[in-house]
Amino acid sequence: MLSIHNLHASIEGKKILNGINLEVKAGEVHAIMGPNGSGKSTLASILAGREEFEVTEGSVDFTGKDLLELSPEDRAREGVFLAFQYPVEIPGVSTINFLKTAINQIREYKGEKPLDAGTFLKTMKEKMKLVEIDQSLLNRSLNEGFSGGEKKRNEIFQMAMLEPRLAILDETDSGLDIDALRIVANGVNKLKNPDNAIILVTHYQRLLDYIVPDHVHVLYKGRIVKSGGKELALELEEKGYDWIKTEQAEIA
């Protein structure tokens, strides 16, 4: 589904990614871990199409298309979803307000008819249960005055509504208490199916107790320095990132 090859990227001349290689297949959950500043969020941002980053080398193929050539909206329409680490607050725009336009844009792109109001409402009610979110929240200005947990649940609610093929969850666990974490993880698990894939970007192993990954990758200084199964996350939890740093220093 997603194939990243030798990806290099920089921002304002500063190199952040130094040759990332990653294969993600349908039905898989990948966790990307790493210390602060290792380039995890940059990778998520580049996949979603954030324009401040400059890709200097490499390629990203998504279901046969050159992802880097697509605008952020076309990536969304192709089925890429980014759950933001820091979801923006937009006064005067409610979740329901823009989500309807978003869904219909995606449908139009796929050559499907717009969703009628009744079906939209029905789908919405179903998905609301999934992340235990209240409708009043969805009618309010996006993220304005939302708690950290509400913001993240809203991200997962949008993911549920948009049904992406590839969901990238950027530090979705940060700032969540254990109950909120469980709700968010539960929602993600229910959305998982053999046709979609999930990339979890996270600093801590905590989230992986709830969403079990098939593959774990450790990102350090803009490169994937270690890959393994879910047990790698546990090892990291035990030994900390210093273990990776020392190992890398020895190699160098």
Partner: protein, 433 residues
């Protein structure tokens, strides 16, 4: 001696023609308007050298040859009015065309004839009532524009509400339809006695591609415990000029909500003066202006807190596109006697194009020591992070921008009480973005 410079020659001729025209007939407000200052002096015509007109040049206006004659097409006007959602509501509908009341297109509620009508009708029906209001804005007449209005005094809205009465909703349509450049200098006179209440919407529009100019003066006295809701909607084209003064005086415990919505015009200058001559007054002033092309909108507001324990709240927002220019000047005076005043002011602007500009200036003069006053002004582009967020959900760049722009405007629109009017304004916004 003729003091006129070549740039004001036409203005000089226009004034001379007006003088001649008015000397030949008895004005309907004859006897009521005697004390008004009509000594127009073309040499004192505002220029950008005057501080109050620093960013707003009237040069283009002074170079138009205005006619005293205008002919209109009732059929066209009728179909225009019928396209407005609020024209169909149960209410007073006063239609003025080229400065005169148009009885065919208007609908009044006969039982309220003595409280809501045109100024000319009330001048013959209840002149003693009009005498109480006409001229209250004299202290605020800072320029020659008002003197032209004093001289011409075209017909306008008159509301004279006795104690405790509530008038049915009032819609006023000031229209210009002329094959020659034409100017309307209308006068509105409103007096709400104690505990009276009404809601007014005044809509300005013009037809054709000839220059036109609205130069209205509105004088409003709101007595104790009375409540007024006033909404001004300016939808002119790129050949339309607007220079108006709204002067409102409020007494104890009265309430005001004033909205100014400007969606088009080559040059719009709104002066809004609010004299808070009482305690426990509640005043809200909202404004929304959105222009494009080579146009200018200038809102000059003044709130004068003269007595203690009153609240004023001012919120103006602008969306500037094309080569348009937005000017906001908000004066707040808090007199020494006006302790415990709360006065808030905010002016926020979005600049959508690199050629658009905004000049905003809050001006607070506070002479009392126990007051809460705040002001803020911002201008900038739409938030890039918000645009990216919406795009990452599948909205196009244009859709994301339009949604954010509408949300920005929505904060003002939602404060307007009439649903038909909100629908109309939202429709104007939708057409634009």
């Amino acid at each position: 001696m003729n003091l006129a410079t070549p740039t004001t020659d036409l203005l000089h001729h226009y004034h001379a023609a007006l003088l001649e025209h008015h000397s030949m007939m008895t004005h309907p407000l004859h006897g009521l308007s005697d004390q008004l200052n009509k000594d127009f002096d073309v040499s004192k015509w505002p220029t950008t050298r005057h501080e109050e007109w620093k960013y707003t040049s009237l040069k283009a206006l002074s170079q138009i040859e205005f006619s005293l004659e205008a002919s209109s097409d009732s059929k066209k006007l009728k179909s225009y009015l019928e396209s407005l959602p609020f024209y169909h509501t149960e209410a007073h509908h006063l239609v003025f065309v080229n400065g005169l009341f148009h009885s065919e297109l208007s609908r009044l509620i006969p039982s309220e004839e003595k409280t809501v009508s045109s100024t000319y009708v009330h001048a013959s029906l209840i002149p003693e009532q009009l005498a109480k209001v006409i001229g209250i804005s004299c202290p605020a007449e800072r320029d020659e524009l008002r003197k032209l209005n004093n001289l011409v005094l075209h017909d306008g809205l008159s509301i004279q509400l006795p104690k405790g009465q509530t008038a049915t909703q009032v819609y006023v349509y000031q229209l210009i339809d002329s094959e020659q450049p034409f100017a309307v200098h209308s006068r509105n006179l409103i007096h709400l006695a104690e505990n009276a209440e009404c809601k007014v919407v005044e809509h300005f529009a013009a037809f054709g591609n000839k220059s036109h100019w609205f130069n209205p003066t509105t004088e409003i006295q709101i007595d104790a415990h009375a409540r007024l809701e006033y909404c001004l909607i300016q939808t002119q084209s790129d050949v339309g000029f607007f220079t108006g003064l709204s002067y409102l005086r409020q007494s104890d415990s009265s309430q005001l909500s004033h909205h100014t919505i400007s969606t088009g015009g080559r040059l719009i200058r709104n002066n809004l003066d609010l004299i808070l001559d009482g305690s426990h007054i509640e005043s809200h002033m909202n404004g929304l202006y959105m222009l494009t092309n080579d146009t200018l909108v200038d809102n000059h507001t003044l709130v004068d807190h003269q007595r203690p324990h009153s609240n004023s709240n001012e919120f103006y927002k602008g969306i500037m596109d094309g080569k348009s220019c937005g000017v906001f000047n908000g004066k707040i005076f808090v007199r020494q006697a006006a302790q415990k005043t709360n006065a808030f002011q905010s002016n926020r602007n979005i600049v959508l194009s690199p050629d658009a500009s905004v000049y905003t200036k809050p001006q607070l003069e506070i002479f009392a020591d126990d007051v809460k006053c705040s002001h803020g002004a911002t201008s900038g582009q739409l938030d890039e992070e918000s645009i990216f967020y919406l795009r990452s959900r599948g909205l196009s760049h244009a859709q994301a921008k339009a949604l954010l722009t509408k949300a920005f405007a929505g904060e003002i629109v939602e404060r307007i009480p009439q649903p038909e009017l909100r629908a109309y304004i939202e429709q104007q916004i939708d057409q634009r973005f």
